[in-house]
Amino acid sequence: MRYLPKSDSERGEMLAACGVSSLEDLFAHLPAEVRLNRPLAIADGLSEYEILDYFRERGAQNASGYASFLGAGAYFHYRPVLVDAVVSRGEFLTSYTPYQAEISQGTLTAIFEFQTMMCQLTGMDVANASMYDGSTALAEAAMMAARITGRKRLLAARTLHPEYREVLATYARNQGLEVVEFGYQPASGALDLEDLDRKLDAATAAVIVQSPNFFGIVENVNEAAELAHRAGALLLDVFTEAVSLGLLAPPAGADIVAGELQSFAISPSFGGPYAGILATREKYIRQLPGRLVGETVDTRGNRAFCLTLATREQHIRREKATSNICTNQALIALMATVFMTVYGKQGLRELAEQNLAKAHYLGGKLPLRFSGPYFNEFVATVEDPAALNQALLERKIVGGLPLARFYPELGDAMLVCATEMVRREDMEALARVWEAAQ
């Protein structure tokens, strides 16, 4: 086996040194009845070439060579080549969590830069080293809000990503937290602030909103924050489309920001691995779950970085920890860090503006369902979304996401996304087929 670096004669020498005569003898102390007494029913090992072939065939079974207008929490953005050049370096790819600061300054420095850029983008004071993804970042943020306020009720917008709401429900149920949803305005697709105001009470720990929301609409987060704060609740702001941060004003009224960074050079990869982020105000730093890197000095006075505030974490606090989270998504966060570095201050803005322009070009050609301001995705109506998508497939186009599954009242609507990667001719083709389907 090519991954096992020993010859049989070396094994023999080692066994002799161990005082046993065969590899099997190393397991002689196990009770016979616990052993598996047959070979695993898994086919013989394959060569590299055969493995590549197997996965290429699987890839070919999936959609490939299609133009796609899917978004809804996973976006098609260009991945600068520097990203893979950096993350495929073994020093980043094959290193462990940076507990040993002296030989982990590469990872630690990159995380410190990541945390800083997350603060710059979100307008928050502190950001952690990343979370599993946006949905779990939201669930952790909600639990954090409950700890801070000592309250048990969460008000979540229906325009929050439906799968994020499902994850939140799973976590909340077992924490004794109640999740109550509030609606959106049927005309604009934006938050129904009156409904929010009605449902807010003295038991509410947090108001959870997403901007741009699941329909692509830019929300008035600060107004929601004012209502939340009046009731003594926190405002938890969620984003799923990180490219929007290049253009949208950071939510000044938010207390916690939870988001998904997939748009920053992370392949859609059928849903993961992605990286989430949690950022908050300085005063809540000790309630923040997940890893944090801090600046310090070594014994010679050099600037150095290390994992810090570990007293919040499970390996120190065990059952009293802020979370059971052990890892972050370091390599994925590194992809995002390289992406942000390559695009930089000007590029992130220009990229966001291109997304805005593409989506508005396409939106101008389709029957929009909502009137609210949108970034790079929007909801458009068509009598039979499934039939439209089928017609589009024949032209090698993957259409939008039919919304009936998540919003029964939007059975005649699809969520459509246009990033910088869609071409004008594909948008025009989509619009033509759409018109014919009306």
């Binding site: 670096p5 699987r58 590469g106 849903g271 390996h315 059971n324």
Partner: protein
């Protein structure tokens, strides 16, 4: 004598923000093929941000040099042995990275129709089947994103089964040798944690367990082999005690690298367990994630697994959302698919026999290290070692040198330290897991290093106490970092 490493020059490098200067760019977008849109007009001026203060502005050359220089400050498996106990730092095959980037997989959107996702679903189905064969369980979910996430999922599934039988119960039992994630998970799942002590042989105390388990106990979370590297040989009796009272046996699969192909938890009374794909199945740790934490269960627990579930429908795979008893979702979409691809590539490369051979080598390597250093260090448990061996610093502590110091001195010898001060039940623990990926030569160098350090402790303890001596930075002031946290850069 230090044989494995010597120092060389590496580059200094400021932070991105210190390198930045206005007007530099590292990107070029293609020309926009549609009319530009005025952001303030489209979104409302109040929704549009000013420029991002202090966000970096660098050229492409500076960007690649920046990250390359940073990378040279890291140790990694590609440089050598990474003997972190409980972490299973094995070789990360590069073919796994390559196949995860196959365009039809890397660019698959989670919402593309099932008809256009059959390749991805097939990969998941094949991995599920392989994991079930390896663990001897009946059903598995691939959704959890990491080991701790898998633990949470597993305990929630256990809780749901118990609740369906009328009472979710109150307590989860956890051995004092367990990983910190175990009690943290139980607490997040709404349980009280009760610790149970290990016996003098480093195993769970079975009579003590029998006295404790009652109808209030939901589950025992066991790690097998445990964190002393010792196989819990009474696993079947332990399962019996729990099952007699209607409680469940949860197994933390962190140490599955000692068992694959030789022992199946599902054959030995385990009801629910998680696996760490980034340990046993070689997916890269990446400096701390991403991972993968599938949860495998016995049939009675299967209805409670997260949605969606993969199901065969005629000649194709489909995702089933109609599962009334499911705990719901634990993550958006279907899990860390790219990690699943890598894990399957690892399994395909090995095959059934290869997986077993890897286990044999992993145990051989740990046993060989144990023999090599046991004359100089105090072994923590007399029982035979499986895939890792745990020592204590008892002899060296008498000279004022502790496990953390020995670990730092290993760095000068060209090795990453072992796991320090864990498990908590061993005072001054030195937890060493070589994995199957190490050659005899690398193991001999490691043994030489530890033997040499033991001699230094006797003859020149100061050298060990002040280690490392050869790194870019010396020991860092962690107290200062925590007392007044600086967790982001700010302009001077």
């Amino acid at each position: 004598m230090i044989r494995k490493a010597r120092t060389h020059v590496n580059q200094n490098e400021p932070l991105l923000f210190e390198l930045s200067s206005p007007g530099k760019v590292g990107y070029q977008l293609p020309p926009l093929d549609v009319p530009p849109v005025d952001a303030a007009a489209a979104l409302g001026a109040q929704n549009v941000r000013d420029q991002i203060q202090n966000f970096p502005e660098l050229s492409e050359v500076e960007a690649i040099r920046h990250f390359t220089r940073l990378s040279t400050w890291n140790y990694s498996i590609d440089l050598g042995m990474y003997p972190l106990g409980s972490c299973t730092m094995k070789y990360n095959p590069r073919i796994n990275e390559r196949v995860a980037q196959v365009a039809g997989l890397a660019w698959a959107h989670p919402y593309q129709s099932e008809a256009l996702a059959q390749g991805a679903l097939e990969i998941m189905a094949r991995l599920e089947a392989a994991l079930l064969e390896i663990t001897g369980m009946d059903a598995v979910t691939l959704q959890p994103a990491a080991g701790a996430h898998g633990e949470l999922t597993g305990i929630l599934v256990a809780r749901a089964l118990l609740a369906s039988r009328g009472n979710p119960r109150r307590t989860v039992l956890i051995p004092d040798s367990a990983h910190g994630t175990n009690p943290a998970t139980a607490a997040i799942a709404g349980y009280e944690v009760r610790n149970i002590q290990s016996n003098g042989r480093g195993m769970l105390d079975v009579p003590a367990l029998a006295r404790i388990v009652d109808e209030d106990v939901a589950a025992l979370m066991i790690t097998n082999p445990n964190t002393l590297g010792v196989f819990e040989e009474n696993i079947r009796a332990i399962a019996g005690i729990l099952h007699d009272k209607g409680a469940l046996l949860y197994m933390d699969g962190a140490n599955m690298n000692a068992l694959a192909g030789l022992v199946r938890p599902g054959d030995n009374g385990v009801d629910v367990m998680h696996l760490n794909l980034h340990k046993t199945f070689s997916t890269p740790h990446g400096g701390g994630g991403p991972g993968g934490g599938p949860v495998a269960v016995k049939a009675p627990l299967a209805p409670f697994l997260p949605i969606p579930r993969l199901r065969r429908a005629g000649d194709r795979w489909t995702l089933d959302y109609e599962r009334g008893q499911s705990i719901g979702r634990v993550r958006a979409f279907y899990g860390n698919f790219g990690v699943l691809v890598r894990a399957l590539a690892y399994i395909l490369a090995h095959g059934g026999e290869g997986l077993r051979n890897a286990t044999l080598d992993a145990v051989l390597n740990a046993t060989y290290i144990r023999k090599g250093i046991e004359a100089d260090y105090e072994i923590a448990a007399q029982a035979p070692s499986m895939h890792e061996c745990v020592f204590s610093d008892a002899r060296q502590a008498a000279r004022g040198v502790h496990t953390g110091d020995i670990a730092k001195r290993l760095i000068d010898y060209g090795f990453h330290p072992y796991t320090v001060s864990f498990p908590l039940i061993v005072h001054g623990a030195m937890m060493i897991e070589p994995t199957e990926s190490e050659s005899k030569r690398e193991l001999d160098l490691f043994i030489d290093a530890l033997v040499s350090i033991a001699r230094e402790v006797e003859e020149d303890p100061e050298t060990v106490l002040k280690a490392p001596h050869s790194t870019r930075i010396s020991r860092v002031d962690e107290v200062r970092a925590a007392r007044k946290p600086v967790v982001r850069w700010r302009p001077a």
